[in-house]
Amino acid sequence: MLSQEALARIDREIAKYPPGKKQSAVMAALRIAQEEHGWLSQEIISFVAEYLEMPPVAVYEVATFYNMFDLKPVGRYKITVCTNLPCALSGGEHAADHLKERLGIGFGETTSDGLFTLKEGECMGACGDAPVILVNNRRMFCRMTRERLDSLLESLRAESEEKGRR
């Protein structure tokens, strides 16, 4: 269900915790699984549960508690925009509106080509860099003007095409 590489990464996470405390690696295991599959299905959650010797419901609880896990399919690029107060004072909402207009979708929606999902995020701890967006939970982009947002979308499209050709 997960690649050897993903399992090796999960094993490295398990090794961070004392013997018998495998459960501590559950967030990391779900993150790594999500990175590989794009989202967390019931099957993946059950697999992680078995791998970490946890009851599936305990893994499910964790998956539903933390906001960055996706329990439904998302686009190839999940774009999260912070609109919390400090960001909102410095263009966070303008940036979100611009993305909505460019992509033709609202928060929580995915473009019809399956490329982009737009999400409203809570504080990312980068308020001085507003507007701030996060791509696929990993790459943070700061001080996003409309021009920078446009070129980011452009480069993500190009990146996706590049991957498609390979």
């Binding site: 919390n84 107060l85 809570e122």
Partner: protein
Amino acid sequence: MTTLRLGQMILKDCGEKSWRLADYEARGGYQALRRVLQEQWPPERIVEEVKASALRGRGGAGFPTGLKWSFMPRQFPGEKYVVCNSDEGEPGTFKDRDILRYNPHSVIEGMTLAAYAMGASRGYNYIHGEIYEVYERFEEAIAEARAAGYLGENILGSGFSFELYAHLGYGAYICGEETALLESIEGKKGQPRFKPPFPASYGLYGRPTTINNTETFASIPFLLTMGGEAFHRLGKPNNGGMKIFSVSGHVNRPGNYELPLGTPFAKLLELAGGVRGGRRLKAVIPGGSSTPVLPAAVMMECTLDYDSLAKAGSMLGSGAVIVMDETTCMVRALERLSYFYYEESCGQCTPCREGTGWLYRVVHRIERGEGRSEDLDLLQRVTTQIMGRTICALGEAASLPVQSFINHFRDEFLHHIEKKCCLVPREVQRAGSEIAVEA
């Protein structure tokens, strides 16, 4: 392209290209650890220095660090833990991110010194999920420190051993609460525990644990190098040391400014380039979104330290200064914060789970011009039914903004309710919150 504007202690001479071990050593890094281990300091001496420094917790609560450390039963047999809280998600706060990416070794050295003082042999740094790239860098810094003998078995040949690991959060504000954070490391939902017992007696995996904020740990090497008394004198009595202030919102130069505690707010505002567009200052949230808002006139008279802000009716909190100018609608600002607490309540305690929803929905209807004349009393009543009735402080964090916004800006709320519209025209608000990025 950095939020680091002024570093004078932890962030001094730090930056994107000078975060590595060799850079830290060139700045005098790991000298405190070397000295403590070579001179075989009794652990109590470290705790005494920290007490003398009047260092107070930099995460928001401001609890005296030396006192917290003295609660650790260091003679207690078996595993003990040191945990760093880098789950920085309090709106307005972005200092730990700069410490971790520009001076990660100061945190590693601080945690190692803390472990030595507390007799702990294992530590975790819990890093906010959204800053994945910073987490990766911290892992790299740990590897550097381990290779150089500053971490791991028999550190610098002293016989003292300490292992440190990074744990990545994944999007839950509540995990910044220390016991929720411990639950989260244990692989559970991040729901706070009842206190007592406190982490010093029952912490991670039920073992004695000391948990401090990133900036607190990062201060330790500097504090021990200059001595507790000297550190204390950097600030003002009872408010020792330097503090990193994260300035966001309507200023020309948002970013992190490391200043002595007791610096006048007016000075910080000046450093941050003043209010954007030369507009008039309206209000400031001085310590992160959970701390009570203060009107401009009150704030301009405050100095930035725990005592001055407490006297003014607010808190230093995490040192996150959110600046709002005259284009801000205070109802709308509160609505956004109330939504945040509603979204982030962990759902464990009924008064908070239900109460934050009430707060958001009522502020939301006032903002939309659908407020009722009894709504301000209703909001007040809901906050008093939340506060003091929950396991953790999120209930207070959600209530204090509501109380302080209404208290200081009652006219704006009444205008919304009576006139069904905002005192600040929508287009003025829009223009005031335009994307403002320096070239």
